[in-house]
Symmetry: C2
Subunit: 227 residues, 2 copies
């Protein structure tokens, strides 16, 4: 599904170069269940942004479904993302003034789903994360964990083939976090490819494969190891 | 240090009333180490905003250091907050365009600390959370866990007597999270009152007292129990 070869990301800050990713090579097949772990600042979110076509590497090759990302136009990247990839961002990235159901409806709108159907699907997605009674709340009227769940519903509503989730249970109590993980795993059994960045060992333990990062590099990959 | 009597917080949404806090009574003494736990949406952050004088209850009495909060002017509340209370917010609440050291310097600026001293103190606070080499980075140039640590440094720089921390290790890997907890606990031994909202059982286990919330109420309080 995705292949990275010698992916490098360097940020230029005035005279200084900051290497956020340092030659990362990685492949993830359709249907895998991968956890990405590592210390704060090790490059996990940067990696996920490149996987999700939200950022371009400074060097190296990234392929998704056999296509080189750098061969695609901005518009083709946006269509591919909208059709195939669901994102849960580390800080949710909700629209500041939209109600929860409109946040969740947004990917359907971009996908061209009819308005008559999209509101209903948005409400169903919210119900799946226990927020049916918060559909009209704006982000400032939602708790941290409720905002995170809106972001999760939004990530799943367009039935993506790949879910990229950055700390998706970070703001959730244990029980709500387990409900979310059960939801992801049900979808995984139906074919969804799961890539989850997490600091929670209990989440990492549920994955079939664990990739560990440090200082912009992959220092271990359990593929072919424990499962 | 703080006393709450029948604290209620109701949000009015058009015709509907949403009770976020439902008659909470609570006292916290100087020097305590309290964890607040509970399900997503149970009212923890709402409670912390009232404790920290950032929000007013709809009903009930809140006292801090013997003074009723509703007897104080907006200006007196701001001065008391700046002098006594450090906040780590659930979503950090950093300024969008300021570098890390300026974020941390802000409480010192409000406290009237001389510019010659405040930059130095800000840099020291950043060093305490392992971010000396990120002092000039703006939030968008920092990882999630680095932003959280900037918020932590900012909360501590003015040497408050009360720390209110909402999920302060939520974006941190285990080891960085333990470094932060060790920092808090050192300050606690020197007299800092610690109130930490957390979903992490390992953080809750370190506290001397655990308050559990559900549906806007306190359902258990281990005071006089385990410690
Ligand atoms: N401005 C508001 N208007 C309406 N409802 C609100 C508003 N702010 C918060 N709420 C509601 O109040 C309840 C309590 O919110 P609070 O943020 O205190 O929860 P919490 O315990 O911190 O949850 P989490 O663990 O998810 O952060 C939630 O159900 C939320 O939807
Ligand atoms: N725009 C930028 N300019 C400069 N440096 C940046 C920028 N964005 C990120 N960085 C740096 O790149 C490194 C990797 O960041 P990244 O967000 O990928 O880390 P992470 O592994 O997700 O960390 P966390 O667990 O704290 O979320 C960090 O050290 C960060 O300071
Ligand atoms: Mg990150
Ligand atoms: Mg909260």
């Amino acid at each position: 599904l995705i292949g990275m070869k010698e992916i490098t990301k360097v940020y230029q800050m005035g005279e200084t170069s900051l290497p956020a990713l340092d030659g990362v090579s990685l492949s993830i097949d359709e249907g895998e269940y991968v956890a990405i772990v590592g210390t704060s600042g090790s490059g996990k979110s940067t990696l996920m942004n490149i996987i999700g076509l939200l950022d371009r590497p400074t060097d190296g090759v990234y392929q998704i479904r056999g296509q080189r990302a750098d061969d695609l136009t901005g518009r083709q990247l946006a269509e591919l993302r909208n059709r195939e990839i669901g994102f849960v961002f580390q800080q949710f990235n909700l629209l500041a003034r939209a109600s929860a159901w409109r946040q969740v409806e947004l990917p359907l709108f971009y996908a061209g789903v009819a308005r008559s159907a999209s509101r209903q699907r948005a409400l169903e997605a919210l119900a799946q994360v226990g927020l049916a009674d918060r559909a009209d709340h704006k982000p400032e009227e939602l708790s941290g964990g409720q905002q995170q769940r809106v972001a999760i519903a939004r990530a799943l509503v367009n039935r993506p083939s790949l879910l990229l989730a950055d700390e998706p249970t970070g703001a959730l109590d244990t029980r709500t976090g387990e409900e979310v993980m059960a939801l992801f795993e049900n979808l995984h059994e139906e074919g969804l490819t799961l890539v989850i960045i997490t600091h929670d060992q209990e989440v990492a333990d549920r994955a079939r494969r664990v990739i560990t990062m440090r200082d912009g590099a992959i220092i271990s990959d359990s593929r072919g190891g424990s499962n």
